[in-house]
């Protein structure tokens, strides 16, 4: 990987499994008492992370038909798949940050096998509802599709 986004701090999680990362996120969120704090945290995440390199914010990488736009890009780094993504809505971007933290820098097969139930546990389930029109459901689908594609490539 050459054009890594500058402040993608989640790289250090590379040594944890998806399961472990998800548990860590659930732990973090359990400190919040109410929705306000959860959302404020997500908004912070959304604001602080430049998640995708500008050159990948193309129409090809755009998930269409949603109120808030979502771009996803994937690249293989060794045997790990690295995701970058972005959205024009900040709350959506916050959830993207969480999803990337869980799924990026993992082996494609682990990404294919992973589930997203932890989003429910941290009280953000509504954002992954297929009727929400924020692009997140399609984004997860897209991430898994990338994983499938790269898995075939590795094999």
């Amino acid at each position: 990987m050459t054009d890594k986004p500058p402040s993608c701090t989640f790289e250090q999680n590379g040594y944890m499994t998806i399961q472990e990362i998800q548990e860590e996120i659930v732990d973090e969120f359990s400190m919040f008492d109410d929705w306000m704090q959860r959302y404020e945290y997500m908004i912070e995440l959304g604001k602080s992370l430049p998640l995708i390199d500008g050159q990948y914010k193309t129409d090809d990488n755009l998930i269409k038909g949603c109120q808030s736009k979502v771009w996803v890009h994937a690249e293989l780094d060794g045997d790990k798949l690295v995701f970058t993504a972005d959205s024009d809505a900040i709350i959506t971007k916050g959830i993207i940050a969480i999803l990337i933290r869980a799924f990026s820098n993992q082996k494609p097969q682990d990404i294919i096998d992973a589930d997203t139930a932890f989003i429910d546990e941290i009280g953000l389930k509504e954002h992954l509802s297929p009727t929400r029109a924020n692009g997140l459901v399609s984004m997860i689908k897209q991430m898994k599709l990338y994983a499938v594609a790269y898995q075939t490539q590795i094999n």
Binding site: W35, Y39, Q67, D88, I90
Partner: protein
């Protein structure tokens, strides 16, 4: 306090849903332009239908069928009276506005030829754009668009220039669902008639706020949806002038719409049944009648006046928020405020408001051309009904301020 002859607190008791909580907060329902809530009086009619006289209509000799048919036809009379329609068979019961528009657009296929022109306004709902585009594809007719100005008003001078003897049809909404603009439909209809074009007015958004006199308007077609005016979903009305309805071919084939059927030839039933193939939404039609009774009982004059005061108040209050811009500032508008806050995506505001129990719509409101015009991804839209209160407007304004503090 707003001055009104309406006793809003008593009216609110008619709407059971207004008592519920959303995310632990009392519901503040400000998505009335998408669908309105249903009063107990209408719910009772729906329940009563299934309790006492659920039966298919127009076909049975038995008592239940007779009762259901009578109730359904009584609803048609109520609709006729409410919209001041000349003849009862000019009232076509549909599944909603979209159905009515498609019925007309499909029916015009054989009347148009290459080079004919269809004029449509720049602020239409997708359901009043796509059927005409499809009609153009089928016939080779060309779609011309009446432009609008920054305030969200149609530029009428341009409309008059667009009209010519090539113009065969004109389509426009009475009220824009995305901007709230009340369009000058009298002028639109008169001018179109001068060049011999037929006019369809999409009244989906207007009918909850304005009681149109269709005979006085001399409009050719007018469509509404019951669910935007205290009735149930899946039912609506298409008004068509008798001469047009006789000329148009049937839209769907099936039971109810025939006089005689053999494999050689079928003759169609008379109006309105020619356009009412299959078993209709019987209960919905009856409930639509009840919804009109309910609104008439409160009074459209009082409703319009109160909603206008509520909208003016909300406009003033919202404009105190820094960076807030309202889209749709027409001189004549009703019950809709579309807005954005600088630097914030409408989806984010809608999400925070939902957490506060406030229901608004966000997005392009099925009117993407309007969003393209303003070069925005969408707006937050608050839309009011007569059962909303000044206090709810205050909650909206507080909620938007809170969202702004969180998001900026």
């Amino acid at each position: 306090m707003l001055q009104t002859a309406l006793d809003i607190q008593t009216i609110r008791k008619d709407f059971p849903i207004l008592n519920r909580e959303v995310n632990g907060q009392p519901l503040v329902y400000l998505d009335n332009a998408a669908t309105s809530q249903t009063p107990q009086q209408v719910i009772d009619v729906i329940v009563d239908y299934y309790h006492r006289y659920n039966a298919n209509i127009h076909r049975g000799v038995h008592t239940l069928s007779q009762e259901a048919t009578d109730a359904y036809e009584l609803a048609r009379q109520k609709i006729q009276k409410h919209f001041n329609i000349g003849k009862i068979h000019e009232v076509i019961l549909t599944s909603g506005t979209t159905h009515g528009i498609n019925l007309v657009a499909t029916g015009f296929t054989s009347f148009l030829k290459k080079g004919d022109e269809i004029v449509v306004s720049a602020m239409e709902h997708h359901s009043n754009i796509v059927p005409w585009q499809m009609l153009c594809e089928r016939t080779g007719a060309v779609l011309k668009v009446i432009p609008m100005n920054q305030e969200g008003e149609l530029i009428m001078e341009e409309y008059h220039v667009l009209l010519s003897n090539k113009t065969k049809l004109v389509f426009c909404n009475h009220v824009s669902n995305a901007l709230g603009t009340i369009n000058p439909i009298e002028e639109i209809i008169d001018a179109a008639h001068k060049v011999g074009a037929a006019v369809l007015i999409d009244g989906a958004q207007a009918a909850a706020h304005i009681k149109p006199d269709l005979q006085a308007l001399d409009v050719d077609f007018y469509t509404v949806s019951a669910h935007k005016m205290c009735g149930p979903t899946g039912v609506g009305m298409l008004y068509g002038k008798e001469e047009w309805l006789n000329k148009l071919p049937p839209y769907q084939g099936g039971g109810e719409m025939i006089a005689e059927v053999s494999f050689e030839k079928t003759t169609y039933a008379d109006l309105p049944h020619k356009f009412e193939a299959g078993t209709p939404n019987i209960c919905g039609g009856i409930a639509f009648g009840a919804a009109l009774d309910y609104m008439e009982n409160i009074g459209f004059g009082a409703i319009a006046q109160y909603e206008d005061e509520l909208m003016q108040y909300a406009t003033q209050q919202l404009l105190t928020i820094e960076g807030l811009r309202i889209y749709g500032t027409a001189k004549h508008k009703t019950s809709v405020i579309s807005f954005n806050i600088e630097g914030i995506h409408p989806y984010d505001i809608g999400t925070i408001l939902d957490k506060l129990g406030i229901a608004v719509r966000t997005g392009h409101h099925c009117a993407q051309p309007i969003m393209d015009f303003y070069k925005i991804p969408g707006t937050v839209r608050a839309s009011f009904s007569f059962y909303n209160t000044q206090e709810e407007v205050d909650k909206l304004v507080e909620g938007v301020k809170r969202a702004q503090r969180m998001l900026l």
